[in-house]
Amino acid sequence: MSYDALIIGAGHNGLVAACYLARAGLKVCVVEKNNWIGGAAVSRELYPGFTYSNCSYVSSLFRPEIMRDLELSKHGLQILPYEGGAMFTESGGYLGMFRDHDANRREMARHSKRDAEAYDRYARDILRHCRFIRPLLMRRPPDPASFRPRDLAELAWLGKQMFDLSEMAMYDMIRFWTMSIADYLDEYFENPVVKAYQAVGSIIGTALGPMSPGTAYVLLHHAMGDVDGNVGAWGYARGGMGSITKALAASLRAAGGQIRAGVAVEQVLVRNGRAVGVALANGDEIRASRVVSNMDVRRTFLRHVAEKELPGDFVKRVKAFKTRGSSGKLNIALDGLPRFTALPEGAPNVKGDMHFTDSIEKMEAAYDDWKDGRFSREPFQDVMIPTLIDPTMTPPGKHFMSCFVQYAPPKIEGRDWTDADRDAFGRACLDQIERAAPGFKNLVLHVEVRTPRELEAEVGLTEGNIFQGELTFDQLLFNRPVPGYADYRSPVRDLWICGSSTHPGGGVMGAPGRNAAAEILRDMKLPAKDMSDAYAVL
């Protein structure tokens, strides 16, 4: 049995790549070490009757072109918009988020009239950055050190994007890509709660604090998606984030591809500098003309490829690639809806993202703990109750609560996490929610606590980094994952990488998988069937 392409890992990017390759006529197989598929876009029932979004929990970046190309709607995927959101303050108040522009302005004006009126200019500037980066997502990044015609053409295209900007916009662009979100927000806003809420997207999944340079870009990474054209908006995948990978799996099977779960890869087989298949943990081998790894770049090359097959310089750079874990996750089954006492009865804010860290300084303090090798005593949380919108995940009246938590280091003071550490981490998060919603803990039926240890062990994310590598400027575009290999290739011929370690990075975008498939098909001189270009940015 031999395949044209063997994909390691049934995460969303591996499945996206597999779908496009299968549609182009390749014989494709996806192997997955877990007994279930999904990677970090996964929904499992860990408590009877409750479906969780165990890892990723909201969707905005998943490319609509991919949903359309792969007919994911036909295969069951629905992305639902959500409303609301609130930043609870220590003083017992809150700053709410509203979809309506004027309701939102009036809410901000409760905290600062000036900031309420500063929001338009801020939103304009963020949108300008989004418009610049959007067209880059579905292209192989150009290599500025290469003189190949294609790289030169891509560089010329990128240069034109730059030169279409005014002088001032160009300055702003370059500053923005390297600034801290704290400095950036100071240029627009004065109120600490307003700033804290805006900063939320700048630290998620990143082992940096809001005062670290580079966090402004992380914010953009979370703002550049959309739900049906509503740029910056996030939504739920109906039935949990696993619905994305389930729909991809169905699309893949419909295109003739295979998925084998519970099959762990031990080693990529390399013969004469070419990948020829994989050796499995059970001793079996699967032959394939090419191997595509959905694992992160460190896991792929440092654990599953023999070092002697790789150039030393490449290995060194892969080892230096930052995959520092920064986050954990609590998945909670609730017997009823908690009452967040700061919110007026009936306020829609509970349907969106909720947070308890009401200043940049407190976010930074939470990061200080991470630097000291501890989880944050007062963690930053991104709490959602998707079952207020999605009726399919729990029985009526019951709820699923997803709590994304920062910061949690890959190791506790240099040693591995213990179960006791994990439980203490979980308690710190639950206590924080209980303070905003007294009685909350009495509603808890089951909690799954995931630290970087669990994320690495189960999902395979090195150090538990949810983006398969930090989204800092030194690790973006032609430097992602390492210089010279931003084209989804590796030093081993026919060994490709397609996960979020590659351009344009993580966040359940699907773009790395799609771009990798495009490069593979180009390499094979095959037309990319059913693969759309990025929608034009008007």
Partner: protein, 391 residues
């Protein structure tokens, strides 16, 4: 501001809401600056007709208002805006615009000089951070006061008669002047200003006096054809008068995502406002350097179909601009339009509007000649005559 339940009322209600909602027989509302605003109360043609034939009342409350006061308020406003504020005497009103450092238009508005050191700036968009930042180094206090003022626009040939019947003698009030009048224990400021190009006044008071003022006006206006009008009727009147609206006829710089959409005052036909001699003002240096790429023109379009949103072509072939506002003018019996065109085509000559008219699910596609004409399209002596003619 009690905003804790604003998710229940995402649109604010103006102080006149009890009356405007009762009169809004078509339940036709639209959002304006965060307020529920009436589009058409009952009948668009009758409402527009009342502006040109009798008298009309329009609820102005959603217009954004800033209070600017202090010893250096005048100096600050002279720096902020392009006109010479030193020439604005107490009791006077100035139509003006202001720009960012690059000379791009931020907004237009009316500036009221309430006292030597106190001004009110009325405009379409919100600018508090810009005003505060611009005030750096000036001894001036700036406050947003939109919700503290209730305002009505009373426009039309019989509007002075309505006010006379209401007990306010405005016969001596010249255009762009204002005066205070006692009203049920308080005060109403009446300015001879408006957005219709006709005889008209704007009435300003505190929210507590809003409903008594409305009732008093309508009682006085019963014999003078007074009726409430919505934004749709006002829009036709303002097009006839050739007035622009920020956000419709140009994109304000603070919200403009696409840099090629930014416009200077000169490009919007507002160069006449600029006082180059008054000293420095924000955007002056950039405006001196800039070569206008665009021009803003009034057009008369052949045929009898409104040309809203039409693309403009030179010689029926090359795209050279776009119509930003248009209507069939009931007053002029012509199809009129406001448009942005490339500067080279400011004089017109061979301009054409591509119009799509939907008739029973089929588009009639027309290429209609568009002639550049002077604005305002509609001129009436009523607008300036002091004392106002009786009708």
């Amino acid at each position: 501001m009690n905003a804790l339940t604003h998710y229940e009322t995402p649109l604010l209600q103006t102080p006149f809401h009890a009356r405007t909602s009762a009169a809004n027989k078509m339940h036709s509302w639209g959002p304006w600056a965060g307020y529920a605003s009436v589009l058409t109360y009952e009948d668009l043609a009758m409402e527009h007709s009342s502006i040109r034939n009798a008298a009309s009342v329009y609820d102005l409350c959603p217009m954004v208002k800033y209070r600017i006061e202090g010893p250096e308020a005048m100096a600050f406003l002279n720096r902020l805006t392009v006109r010479n504020v030193a020439k604005l005497s107490v009791g006077g009103v100035q139509y003006t615009v202001w720009c960012d450092d690059a000379g791009h238009l931020i907004d237009d508005g009316t500036l009221f000089r309430m006292s030597p050191d106190r001004f009110r700036l009325c405009c379409q968009e919100r600018h508090l951070p810009w005003l505060l930042d611009s005030a750096y180094g000036f001894d001036v206090a700036i406050r947003e006061e939109t919700e503290e003022v209730a305002a009505l626009s009373l426009q039309g040939p019989t509007s002075a008669s309505v006010l006379a019947a209401a007990g306010s003698d405005v016969t001596g009030l010249k255009p762009f002047r204002m005066a205070d009048f006692a009203f049920v224990g308080g005060e109403v400021t009446i300015s001879r200003t408006g957005f219709t190009g006709d005889l008209g006044y704007e009435l300003w008071t505190v929210p507590e006096l809003a409903l008594p003022l409305w009732d008093h006006l309508f009682a006085a206006g019963a014999q003078h054809g007074l009726r409430p009008i919505g934004s749709d009727a006002l829009n036709i009147a303002r097009l006839e008068a050739g007035f622009i609206i920020t956000g419709y006829d140009f994109t304000p710089a603070p919200q403009c995502v696409r840099e090629d959409r930014l416009r200077s005052p000169v490009e919007m036909g507002l160069g006449w406002l600029i006082d180059w001699e008054k000293g420095h003002f924000t955007g002056r240096r950039a405006l001196l350097r800039a070569k206008p790429k665009w021009a803003f023109v009034g057009l008369e379009v052949d045929g009898n179909i409104g040309a809203e949103g039409a693309i403009l072509y030179h010689d029926q072939k090359t795209e050279v601009g776009m119509i930003t506002g248009a209507c069939w003018s009931p007053t002029l019996k012509k199809s009129i339009a406001l448009a942005q065109v490339q500067a080279a085509h400011a004089a017109g000559g061979n301009l054409w509007a591509e119009i799509y008219a939907l008739r029973e699910l089929h588009y009639a596609k027309m290429m209609m000649r568009a002639r550049v004409v002077d604005r305002p399209f509609f001129q009436t002596d009523r607008r300036r005559a002091t004392p106002p003619a009786r009708f």
